[in-house]
């Protein structure tokens, strides 16, 4: 910390002091410099975006502002005066509120208890209820204070977080990737709330990688790349392409030839799959039926916690069913089979959780490749063929441009996006007949996301049936031929992606399944009428 800063006047044309100003913030971790000389200026009542790829340093910067991380150098000015934020308590005292990307809520507690915990002045829970109700009506954020959080949807949880932050009457609200888990309708409601807050003078720092949203909502954007500020702009005057270029410092690669695919034989079918909920935090599956043909990508949309986890477990074999016919791979009943047996039938699976389920962080990339690709001639008489294993891992790395220290690097040392590329590569290079992928690009930066989506499209083009479960609607519209929605453990009919819009999918996310457009008669795909039937009650 330098005690006397140079008093150079800020070049922003603001007569009032800035709400928040950062000068020369630097934070280095052992392996990486997360922030390097970052300046940031936020005016009162301004909605200010901070954009950048994963690893650009956005989250670290926000944690510094909120006092969760101490910077190595640089200073912070709050309403024109130097401020030192040592902890989140200091930040709250100044009037900084934060809504976290992975919500900082306590699942077993009620909404009121969650809010009471975070509200200074030790309010009694009984006194809080009317204040919660008042904020809820004023900003259109309906919640029931007495409900326990674990029973709430992600959108509801976010409302709780926002109300919790608003109860402290913040003058700066930090929103970290707030829309990544919301339905399009909920995003619109959130934007209204944020605009209203800004109109009342609260500044908003909006962290996102969704360029459309930033262009719609924000007045100014600070662009980070590699820990440094590479530009400040008015996003409303930019195009998504120009913003993306600024973010990644290069032209965004386009898709190759996605349309030249024609669906062939049915390769993956799920027939009337039901399952009771696994404990109080689980979701019951109610009569799910679906079918994916060779050469086709079926997308499953939905807000997380609506049965995706349970459906994926039933597909991968982690949860087996007594009735073998519920899942069929290339016509072979597989519902009763364990994961390895299903893989022998031609299934490959990329789970949502990369570190732990998709890969073992302490093992090397080669060893991780062996875990699912052992059948690719990598073992002989039960012994590992190290040369072939290494070659296979190297092929994953080079084909998918995985940035890492080679096949001997520990999986845990890779960034999320690079590890995901490696895992997708490991599965795709086995040339599976059926590929099931969960959240393929969650938390992955723009460039890597394009590469991963391209790999899925190419796999389908090569004749595989691909099932993608994703919370990113844009992604599904980009790659899927048909989109089904999972809501409350039930699956909607699959809508041809070209014939539905975001609103219809958003409506289906609430559990009301609109009919398949242009189809009064049963849909040609065999399992779909059953799905519609199952969805009827």
């Amino acid at each position: 910390m330098t005690p006397t800063p140079d008093q150079s006047l800020d070049d922003q044309p603001a007569r009032r002091p800035l709400r928040l100003e950062l000068r020369g913030i630097r934070k280095a971790y052992p392996a990486v410099v997360a922030n390097d000389g970052v300046d940031l200026a936020v005016a009162p009542g301004e909605i200010h975006a901070v954009v950048g790829e994963n690893g650009a340093g956005k989250s670290t910067l926000m944690k510094i502002i909120y006092g969760m991380v101490r910077p190595d150098a640089g200073e912070m000015l709050w309403e024109g005066r130097e401020a030192e934020v040592r902890s989140p308590v200091d930040a709250q005292r100044l009037g900084i509120g934060m809504v976290f990307q992975h919500f900082a809520l306590f699942e077993t507690l009620t909404v009121a208890e969650n809010i009471a915990l975070a509200t200074p002045g030790r309010p009694a829970i009984a006194d809080l209820a009317p204040r919660i109700a008042e904020l809820a009506t004023r900003y259109g954020l309906p919640v029931d204070p007495m409900r326990r959080v674990h029973s709430m949807s992600v959108g509801e949880r976010q409302r709780v977080e926002i109300i919790r932050a608003l109860l402290q009457s913040p003058r700066l609200l930090i929103m970290d990737e707030p829309t990544s888990v919301l339905t399009p309708q909920a995003v619109r409601r959130l934007f209204e709330t944020l605009r209203q807050l800004a109109a009342e003078g609260c500044s908003i720092l909006y962290i996102s990688h969704k360029l459309d949203e930033i262009r719609e909502l924000c007045e100014r954007a600070t662009i980070l790349r590699g820990g440094k500020v590479v530009g400040i702009c008015d996003p409303r005057a930019e195009t998504p392409a120009s913003l993306a270029r600024a973010m990644i410092g290069a032209e965004l690669p386009g898709f190759r030839d996605a349309a030249a695919r024609s669906p062939g034989a049915m390769r993956l079918t799920v027939t009337n799959l039901s399952k009771p909920a696994d404990g109080p935090f689980g979701t019951a599956l109610g009569g799910i039926s679906l079918g994916v043909r060779a050469g086709e990508i079926l997308g499953i949309a939905g807000v997380s916690g609506n049965g995706q986890k349970e459906l994926l477990a039933a597909l991968s074999g982690e949860a087996r069913s007594a009735d073998a016919t519920t899942v069929a791979i290339d016509g072979a009943p597989a519902g009763h089979l364990a994961p390895a047996a299903r893989r022998r039938l031609g299934l490959a699976y990329v789970p949502e959780d990369r570190q732990g389920q998709g890969a073992i962080p302490v093992l090397t990339l080669s060893e991780n490749a062996l875990l699912t690709a052992a059948r690719q001639g990598l073992t002989r008489h039960g012994l590992v063929q190290f040369g072939k294993l290494r070659a296979y891992a190297e092929r994953c790395i080079s084909s998918f441009d995985v940035r890492c220290g080679g096949p001997d690097a520990a999986a845990g040392s890779l960034s999320g996006g690079n590890l995901q590329k490696f895992i997708v590569g490991r599965e795709v290079l086995q040339e599976p007949g059926v590929l099931v992928v969960a959240q393929p690009t969650w938390g992955v930066d723009v460039g890597a996301a394009v590469a991963i989506r391209q790999a899925l499209i190419d796999r389908a083009a090569a004749g595989a049936a691909v099932l993608v479960v994703s919370e990113e609607l844009d992604e599904l519209f980009e790659i899927a031929d048909r989109i089904a929605v999972i809501a409350g453990g039930r699956l909607s009919p699959a809508y041809p992606a070209r014939l539905v819009d975001r609103d219809a999918i958003g409506l289906a996310m609430t559990g009301t399944f609109p009919p398949v457009p242009g189809d009064a008669a049963p849909v040609p795909h065999p399992p779909t009428p059953e799905a519609a039937h199952a969805a009827a009650p």
Binding site: Y66, M68, V69, S87, P88, V89, Q92, M98, F100, F103, A104, L105, F106, E107, T108, L109, E113, A116, L117, A118, R122, R164, G279, P280, F281
Partner: protein, 306 residues
Amino acid sequence: MNGLLPILIATLVAGTPLVYAALGELVTERSGVLNLGVEGMMLVGAIAAFAVAYHTGSVPLAVLAGAAAGIGMALLFGLLAISFKANQVAAGLALAIFGGGLSSYLGKSYVGMALVIPQSQLSAAAADIPVLGALLGPLHPLVWLSWLVFAAIAWFLYRSRAGLVLRAVGESPSAAHAIGYPVIRIRYAATAFGGAMAGIAGAYVSVIYTALWTEGLVAGRGWIAVALVVFATWRPERCILGAYLFGGVTTAQLFAQGAGVAVPSELMSALPYLATVLVLVLISRDETLIRLNLPASLGKPFDAEG
């Protein structure tokens, strides 16, 4: 009534060490810290209390010494498991073994000695209360105190803001840290409280219950206390029931031995442990209850920068 009263009193007497130890461990675990070293903390508390009682003759001083010794042991555990983020299971087991050895060493010169503890004046006064006096009189005030401790902990956990914070820290330390609570300090406090309770439990065993010192006096009650907390699904009212169940079976098998039942006495002595675990396992099979009460971060170290 007259036939049952001695059995009831013996049950309460035998269950009290578990009430203290299990409630203390419950508070510790609610903060997300799993301290398996209860047996060791009880043993060190027991010898500290015994020595103080032997030399001063003062029971209150002895109990304070027991609590202080328990706190000392708990802070040692805290240093390893909270500050240095050692594996909590390993650190707890080490603490249990260390406490056993330390208490044997410190208690060498006291082995076989007995205390002469006069009846507490409070108990004598309580004996004159109509109706209740017959029950309260023969019980040491420490038994009464354990009921107050139970009520206080139940109120603290479910009615007070501080208890809410404790449960929150146990469920998600990172979220608690994010909204500004001092996770490390809260975990230390909860661990120290557990140590104090274990120390008092040990003091009760050595000074009131047996009033003599032998090696390994606590005889596995610390382990039962740890099991009790889990099977009681981290709820104080089930904890106290389990403790008295243990006391009840202990008493019943003593009476049965006294009546000359032809079962080996070793088997009879094992009965309370077996019965307590069995009953608790049976009543705690409800998964919903476990999920809602289990401190989600139990046993996981917390790193503020992580």
